[in-house]
């Protein structure tokens, strides 16, 4: 028997039903939920980030939700430290906790650790972004080749975000980003069971479209208007707000902006699915029986651990 507490992770693409499943599991297990969502950490944008509602939070205590100002920097490394601290407290009271979120970097940081990378300052971010916008991706790749040939060799060259991030980190750290990548998995003082609801893509996309509509009905437009003056912040450079800022600027009408939100959310979901497809530890659950199947697997796992 390992004697370790158990961390139950509920992850998956956006709108796949993570919140409902995590609440069902937490209620059945009698434990709290730690959010692993890079946007739900911020206050003032609960609608656009699909943060757990007041009612849901009354049913089960949630941690790491809405605790940061929009102007406060945050990173996967910061999340790793915060979540480990929260879990330390939770595991002192109960031998199980649930983590729920679709920010894959955050989930990976918590379950296996990530390499220590510096936080990017706004000045560095602006410098690299301005360069990219003025000179283009090829020039940025040429810069990366000079400052970190190894990363230039392995980076996804068709993905500007990856290239931008590699240059940003190298400049911020003062050493090549490739030298910071150890690939070492960190030992954790808990066992991990990682679940994902395996939903057919067409059904998932239908849920995304419906969610965008319900967000608009819940007041996303007003929420975006209230934070419009902070649009330069990285925390608001995200799906749901970018499109509405464009509407406020007169660049598109509201129907187009809403359609664009749904489309960009579907694109984001596809990226999440690609990331998940590489995760060999993921346990995929049928949507209709997800909670019951997960609880059965958890029970079996704990039984095996106890009798090992």
């Amino acid at each position: 028997m390992s004697g370790k507490p158990l961390l139950v992770v509920v992850t998956g693409p956006t709108a796949s039903g993570k919140t409902a499943l995590s609440i069902s599991l937490a209620e059945a297990l009698g434990c709290d939920i730690v959010s692993a969502d890079s946007r739900q950490v911020f206050r003032d944008i609960p609608i656009g980030t699909a943060a757990p509602s007041v009612e849901e939070r009354a049913r089960v205590p949630h941690h790491l939700v809405g605790f940061l100002g929009l102007d406060e920097p945050y990173s996967a490394a910061a999340f790793e430290a915060d979540a480990l601290r929260v879990l330390d407290g939770l595991f002192a009271r109960r031998q199980v906790a649930v983590v729920c979120g679709g920010s894959m970097m955050y989930v990976d940081a918590l379950t296996g650790g990530i390499d220590d990378m510096p936080s990017i300052t706004d000045a560095t971010r602006a410098r690299v972004r301005d360069f990219y916008e003025q000179q283009g991706l090829d020039a940025l790749l040429a810069w990366l080749e000079i400052i970190d040939p190894e990363m230039h060799r392995i980076v996804d060259r068709r993905n500007p975000k990856r290239v931008i991030h590699a240059v940003e980190i190298t400049l911020q750290a003062g050493v090549p980003v490739s030298s910071l990548r150890t690939g070492q998995k960190k030992e954790r003082p808990f066992d991990v069971l990682k679940f994902c609801i395996d939903m057919p893509r067409e059904r998932l996309f239908g849920r995304i479209n419906a969610r965008v509509e319900s967000m608009m009905q819940a007041g996303l437009l007003e929420e975006a208007r209230a934070v419009r003056h902070l649009r330069h912040l990285n925390s608001l450079n995200t799906v749901g707000y970018k499109e509405l800022f464009a509407f406020f600027d007169g660049l598109m009408d509201l129907d187009t902006a809403v359609a664009r939100i749904a489309k960009n959310t579907r694109v984001y979901a596809k990226k999440q699915l690609t990331w998940l497809s590489r995760d060999a530890d993921l346990i995929r659950l049928a949507p209709e029986t997800a909670a019951a199947d997960a609880l059965s697997i958890i029970k079996k796992f704990r039984h095996n651990e106890t009798n090992a």
Partner: protein, 74 residues
Amino acid sequence: MKQTPDDIVLCAQFQELTRASIARDVLLAEDIPAVIDNSVMGIVFPPAGAVRLMVRVADRDRAREILRQGALLR
């Protein structure tokens, strides 16, 4: 003769035109005018000499600091 802020001076020298071009583009992205003064020689006779990146006197210190931060100048 006394220099004026608009005089063009040497900011940095590079062995390769590619590195000099990126350095110039980095400065341009920061709204610092910069030119490579012997790029043709650098292309035709690379071993013959360094590629010179030129800026205004008034911009030289800031330009060098930006290139240092950009890992393009030691």
